[in-house]
Symmetry: C2
């Protein structure tokens, strides 16, 4: 029952910075206690494929060789977490690029489609840091391997949930083909459009199936969530460790 | 056999301005002779639903009550063709809005996501006409009703071709449901994303079916055309009379 690369597991974790601040968690209560609770978030553990890069590298490597039910704590250096801090990604920009010429340290900005954070303002020059907000940080993860998943339908649902933030989709596996009905609210979701190819190739690789079919039905079945809400759900999954 | 609203017909036509210039045609040779040939275009006649707005209003109305095999010529006033010319859609803009401050009459421009044509340049002011290029024009159509289409598969293919510019898609009708395999090159096509809902509702309305399923398969089957080409194909269909 040792966890090997390619195994599906249900993983719970809390990610902390060196000062103890929790920045990521699969536990709803921990999220609420630490002010990072997301109403659209899915709590209760993520289904991930061991060694597939579904979580940060240091944690992903830690899983291999462990057993179902194991738990532990691991300190992860920047290069196996969110990357080193790259000084070349800190740039000077003229304050004229900012709305109302307003800029202050900590302010989140978007310049040329890149997200950054203002680090300093010196006269009319603004230093903007485009590194990942957690770049250069050593992080600590408490984790537990809640379960090794053997059932193909559960694997399918788990991988879909990991990428879409939707707890249960209308999907089945038949004749080596995964048939997935796409809910109306994902149809125009930009993130869905970007990840659907990757999800399909991961399903083929990790479930050993030959084909994935996404089916979009008209007239659309009445959807439970508003489109804008589901977009937030998908954005939320983006923030989970990578 | 009289054509009624909702009938599928195969329609050939040449659209001309009052000075005889051909601006639209279903005939490949006519297109070449008049310098409007599009390599990605589909020639040989369009499948349209009579009375459904698939062609300009004046021509669409003309079809009703005709017979298979009929042909004719009709002069169509602006209000039943590309609309009256609206003087409010001719605007003055500062020449500073133009790249390199360059503007000349006839120049095609895009301002605030609207396409227009420069009509005059007076000092630093540029008059831009955002009307349809054929607004205000009386047009003449030679048309022939080549065929009334009775077969459901042919209707399905015809309507898909009208909107996508693809001559034959992998599609079938089963149990009152149209099942349409989406070729890989349409997956990210912005125009496809915008029209697929409309195509589905037209198929349900005009074919009397209950459901439309779009199926996207992974791994994608090898496609015959490049993505960029198919985009042009779809753009091309946009220019056919509406």
């Amino acid at each position: 029952m040792t966890i090997q690369e390619g195994d599906f597991i249900k993983l719970s974790y809390n990610g902390k910075l060196e000062d103890g601040i929790v920045f990521d968690t699969t536990d709803e209560n921990v999220a609420k206690e630490n002010g990072i609770y997301n109403e659209q978030g899915m709590y209760g553990g993520d289904v991930v494929v061991a060694g597939a890069g579904h979580t940060i590298k240091g944690l992903d490597e830690e899983l291999i060789g462990k057993e179902e039910g194991d738990s532990g704590t691991i300190e992860i250096p920047p290069e196996k977490a969110f990357g080193e801090h790259d000084p070349k990604l800190v740039e000077s920009h003229s304050i004229t690029k900012f709305q109302d010429r307003k800029a202050y340290p900590g302010m989140e900005v978007q310049i040329d489609n890149r997200k950054g954070v203002v680090s300093r303002v010196i006269g009319r020059r603004v230093r903007v840091d485009f590194n990942h907000p957690l770049a250069g940080k050593t992080v600590t993860y408490d984790y537990s391997i809640d379960k090794k998943i053997e059932d193909d339908d559960e694997k399918l649902q788990g991988l879909l949930a990991l990428y879409t933030g939707m707890p249960e989709m209308d999907a089945k596996i038949e004749n080596n083909t995964a048939i997935i009905n796409i809910p109306n609210e994902l149809t125009f979701n930009q993130r869905w459009l970007m990840v659907k190819g990757r999800i399909a190739s991961e399903l083929m690789q990790h479930l050993g199936i030959e084909e994935v079919q996404y089916v979009e039905k008209y007239p659309p079945e009445s959807s439970k969530t508003e489109e804008s809400e589901s977009e937030e759900t998908m954005e939320e999954t983006e923030s989970s460790g990578e």
